[in-house]
């Protein structure tokens, strides 16, 4: 390139990757990449000496941190041969706020609103995970009525999160219109949240031990109206995309990841299920009364972007089923378990995880018996899933990178914490 001067000279890579190793890493060409010891992270040879004369084939491009398709401040360094991706490296941390350090300096109650700021597209799910983890640490359980309310709100949040994902993902692939449709319908969910707890995005809906607020009058009617309202809308999204030829060409066999690779890379959530692994924490390790509801786990078979799209669409419908069962069966009773005013869990440690819209969201809490967590570790699904990016886009084109970043449904607030 002629603009070497503008770049750090170290950034210009010279040695082309051995074509054989690339072929090995391209999904589906030769075995699993993961048996190779260094199949991830440092694959760009960024420190290699200057490239030879007239070797104009390779191009290092910084996608992000300011880029319309990286869903925030993700920076992906792409090494390109023309349009073909030879390697990627993710640079993250631009949104790092030290949530885990903050947790060590706040009481359990004070930390509750902070978790909403991680995955700000699915704040209710984060709150559920955190509250349940602390409850487990204290060995209390929320009363059934509170659990039903939690399930309803969490599943609504899952639909909202998937809608947001669908809109932005379609926009990344170039279809502008679904974005506006999904935002229109997501608005109805946010209205329910707002009526319930006064906030739309970072809700802080749940408290340790149950729920702070009783459902408002008309809540059931609102939710039922929403159920009848949104079911045809999901069909509407599908008519726009599912059989669209360009959509099929852009998503089929793009970013393929096998079930084996997905497990090895710790990928969870819809991405794992689209690869054919039928695993959902709601079924595998049921929490919050999920064992009482009848729903199915949608699974894909090819592990490509199109399957992930289908899985998420099916998940939205399953969530509707769960909400419908829950709203019809809310039991009477208290909404708060008997927890002390000052939350002081006994010494011990606990790991609790839930099925967030993006995957397994885990909280590992070490308590030293004081009012503040001694150590609080968040297991963020987006962060772990994002590791698979390199494997999935190797050998693909630039446009596929965008599609694959979109298909992970990452939220940078959660990746960086």
């Amino acid at each position: 390139m002629n603009d070497e001067k503008t770049l750090d000279p170290k950034m210009i890579a010279s040695k082309p990757l051995d074509p054989k190793t690339i072929a090995e890493r391209v999904p589906g060409t030769a075995g699993s990449s993961l048996t190779r010891p260094n199949a991830a992270s440092s694959n760009l040879d960024l420190d290699a000496p200057d490239k030879p004369y007239l070797d104009s084939n390779e191009l290092i491009i910084n996608m992000g941190p300011q880029h319309p398709a990286t869903h925030g401040v993700l920076r992906v360094i792409l090494k390109l041969d023309g349009e073909k991706v030879l390697g990627t490296e993710c640079v993250i941390g631009y949104l790092h706020r030290g949530i885990e350090k903050i947790a060590e300096n706040r009481t359990y109650t004070m930390f509750n609103p902070y978790v909403d700021r991680m995955d700000y597209c699915a704040a209710v799910s984060n709150g559920l995970g955190y509250c349940e983890a602390v409850e487990k640490l204290m060995n209390v359980e929320a009363p059934p009525r509170a659990q039903y309310i939690r399930v309803i709100l969490t599943e609504l949040q899952r639909i909202a999160s998937h809608q947001l994902w669908l809109g932005t993902h379609a926009l990344d692939i170039g279809a502008m219109t679904p974005l506006f449709y999904t935002f229109r319908d997501r608005e109805e969910i946010l209205k329910i949240f707002e009526k319930y707890c006064g906030a739309r995005l970072t809700t802080h809906a749940f408290r340790i031990g149950g729920c702070q607020y009783e459902i408002y009058p008309g809540f059931e009617k609102d939710v039922k109206n929403f159920l009848t309202f949104v079911a045809p809308k999901i069909d509407e999204y599908e008519t726009l995309l599912t059989t669209n030829r360009i959509w099929l060409e852009r998503t089929k066999n793009v970013g393929v990841i096998s079930g084996k690779d997905a497990i090895a890379l710790g990928v969870t959530g819809p991405v794992l299920r689209a690869s054919g692994v039928k695993w959902d924490i709601r079924k595998a390790v049921p929490y919050a009364n999920y064992s009482k509801f009848d729903f199915e786990i949608p699974v894909g078979s090819n592990g490509d972007t199109y399957d992930r799209y289908l899985v998420r669409m099916a998940e939205m419908r399953q969530s509707l089923r769960i909400v419908e069962q829950a709203i019809n069966g809310i039991p009477e009773g208290p909404i708060m378990a008997k927890v002390p005013k000052v939350i002081k869990p006994p010494v011990g440690e606990i790991y609790h995880s839930i099925e967030a819209p993006k995957g397994e969201l885990g909280f590992f809490i070490v308590s030293d018996g004081s009012t503040q967590p001694y150590r609080l570790r968040v297991r963020p699904p987006s962060f772990v899933n994002l590791q698979a990016l390199d494997l999935m886009v190797r050998g693909a084109l630039v446009a596929d990178v965008v599609a694959v970043i979109g298909t992970f449904d990452i939220v940078l607030g959660e990746v960086d914490r």
Binding site: M1, N2, E4, K5, Y53, L54, S56
Partner: protein, 188 residues
Amino acid sequence: MNPLLMNPAVNAGSAPVATPFFFYFLAGAAVVSGLFVITRRNAVHSALALIVTLLSVAGLYLMLYAPFVAGVQIIAYAGGIMVLFLFVIMLVDIERVSKERQYNRVWPVGLLAACALLALFVSAIVKGRSLLPDRMVQLPESSNTQQIAAALYGEAGRVGQYTFAFEIASLLLLVAILGAVIMTKKKI
């Protein structure tokens, strides 16, 4: 074929305006940009200057009542080939190329060759003056395309003057295309 254009009165109406001005303008532009092509260090600037040259020559063709040739010149050279030229040049590290001394050492030879070519042209014009027409032939502009077609492909059952040569040339191009594909494609 627009029958109105066959009308001689119409052709009289569209007599060209300011012919000498346009001729010298286009010729000057062609020469100046031609000089730019060989003097610019930056290859992209050279390519752009070459495009100007080609367009000026297309304008000269238009003035010679050869609109078809002018159109083909624009499509094939300025629009097609030069885009591919730029395509390649853009990928080359220009800053580095401009620092390299590539052909600069052989410039005396180049000058010699250029002078020889010039001498050839001059001698051809001087010696062959009797063969050349002393005035520009006034051809009807409107049937230019049809005349070219007749010369290349023949008309009314008659084989054209250049049909054979034209087909040979196209065959040669086909071979060249195949050769290029085989040379660049790693596996077919």
